[in-house]
Amino acid sequence: MTARTLACAFRIGSRRTLAHLAAMLWVVGIFLALTLSYGRMLHALPDETLARIGYTRDQLVWYLVLTETAIMGMGFQFRETQEDIQSGRINIALLRPMPFWMLKLAEWTGQQCVFLCLLLPFSLATGFAMAGVPPLSRALAFLPPACLIALQTMLAINLMIGAASLWIGESRPVAWLYQKFNFLLGGLLWPLAFYPVWLQHVAAATPFPAIVAGIGGFGLGKTTGGAAFDFGVQLVWLTVVLTLAALIGEAVRRKISR
């Protein structure tokens, strides 16, 4: 029954995206502008830099396209939870016989899956136009489930950021930090191999590479073994983040009721 409920919430989420198709196309436009301009910048990288890190320009362009797709396709839903808390609508959600955080995650997953499906053709077309055929291997079989896991991790973090408004009044500072960490520790534009070793270690201790670099790595020609390892890491982070989301969901209930 819970699976059917979550499937229904997923469907509602997907209809929400379809209801705002025009706005979604704007996001696609921004994605195109960003990837095309950053892609041009990557083409200007000196050969010696490329030789040092061991990637070609085309691989870096595919990395960029995939990480941007992950970031833009997975959205920033924390505002919705913050609004629910600030408007008191959270009370209604808390009175339902199902944890609100589960329903929210299912709904957002539906929303973002549809958007990812919309974004993907544009993303692939951009990659082809700028860097030709991507590095093909069996590892690509891990890409769809890896995207789904990254999406779930990102949405659960968004839920927690939104819930933070209950304690600190406003989630935006936390969301801002999250964006910066995604950019820096996730390896949004540049693979983590560009980073000093100590920063790579710091990044590895956070969930951000699992969300961003884990997807972008397919553009760099991941091996099947590497993809399987990364997928395992993603699963570990998803478990951690979902457990935290459940604990924070319970903390929200306690904070409101006491």
């Binding site: 029954m1 059917r4 409920t5 229904c8 919430a9 469907r11 509602i12 209809r15 929400r16 209801a19 705002h20 408007s87 008191g88 609508r89 009370n91 209604i92 808390l94 009175l95 339902r96 016989p97 199902m98 329903l103 409101i256 009721s257 006491r258």
Partner: protein, 328 residues
């Protein structure tokens, strides 16, 4: 068995605030002082199945706090409450299947999708069997006349239409108790009347217990048969509407149409409220002079073409109670 039993319920809130004596930029560094506010105190009452109870009081009286405790959103500081056999703040999930809740100012529908989709999701959340859900939905859709609204999103509906959809959403799982918090707020006269009729039809058909909080005395008079009035978190009055009017006012309004062009009238306990050509509006205190004597005197004094005796509006009753309490 009573549907709701409340005994010695109390809720205090603790707030911290900066010392108000310190002003300017120093205010941010001033020590914080704890302040305790008692929102509900020693509240006790019992509500039987099928009763329609208005829970009223001025702003800040503790109505919403009490309702939140009865739903399970808030824990009380002390006291006991049992709703449909469950302790609300302990067995919130189990109780959720028995409660329908409508907040007039907050919709429970998903705003960007058609109303029907919200109903489908709620049916899943409340684990309704497909057949039972469809029957109940169709019955409520017909009862609240919302068939034409199901394919629309809530944000495209008028406030009255949205409220009817919200009430249907809260009734899909056949709750035994319906909490209505300002359900007619912002509605026009026609929409209010329509909603009240629907709620009355529902209560008489399904024997649903209704707990209503509203500042609109029209809602209370049209829907409820019992009133619990609280002020400063304490119960002030608990009785039927008729009792309330009798005990706290005992006045009646007598409207007369006469053949005489400017009728005048004097009698102990009777005041002229309005005097017009061929009309007279009297306010009579039945405790001073019995009503039959006043009417007999009117009939003797005038050539009466029309006569009606009305209770004073509930609003006047409540105003009087608040005024008496303030004076006390």
């Amino acid at each position: 068995m009573s549907m709701i039993e409340v005994a010695d319920l109390e809720r205090t809130f603790t707030r911290t605030k900066r010392d108000p004596a310190v002003t300017g930029w120093r205010r941010h560094f001033a020590a914080k002082v704890k302040e305790t506010h008692r929102a509900v105190a020693d509240l006790s009452f019992t509500i039987e199945a099928g009763e329609k109870v208005a829970f009223i009081g001025p702003n800040g009286a503790g109505k919403s706090t009490t309702l939140k405790m009865l739903c399970g959103i808030l824990h009380p500081t002390s006291g006991r409450a049992v709703v449909h056999g469950f302790v609300p703040w302990v067995e919130t999930r189990q109780l959720a299947y028995k409660l329908g809740i409508v907040f007039g100012q907050r919709s429970q529908l998903w705003q960007q999708v058609p109303v029907a989709d919200s109903f489908d999701l709620l049916a899943r959340i409340y684990r309704l069997e497909d057949g039972a859900y469809r029957d109940q939905r169709d019955r409520l859709v017909a009862m609240f006349d919302i068939a034409g609204l199901l394919r629309q999103t809530p944000r495209t509906l008028s406030l009255g239409q949205r409220m009817r959809c919200d009430i249907v959403a809260s009734l899909l799982h056949r709750p035994s108790i319906l909490f209505l918090d300002e359900p007619t707020i912002g509605l026009d006269v026609t929409a209010k009347a329509l909603l009240r009729d629907h709620l009355n039809a529902l209560a008489s058909r399904d024997n649903t217990t209704i707990i209503l909080t509203s500042h609109d005395t029209g809602d209370i008079e049209s829907i409820c048969d019992r009133v619990i009035l609280i002020d400063h978190g304490q119960k002030v009055i608990d009785g039927t509407l008729a009792q309330l009017k009798r005990d706290y006012l005992g006045r009646k309004t007598i409207r007369l149409a006469t053949a005489e062009p400017s009728p005048g009238f004097t009698m102990p306990g009777v005041e002229i409220v309005e005097q017009g050509p061929h009309t007279l509006l009297l306010s009579a205190d039945a405790k001073i002079t019995p009503l039959d004597k006043i009417i007999a005197a009117c009939l003797a004094q005038f050539q009466v073409t029309d006569l009606s005796v009305e209770d004073l509006p509930l609003e006047e009753v409540i105003k009087t109670i608040y005024a008496n309490r303030r004076a006390a």
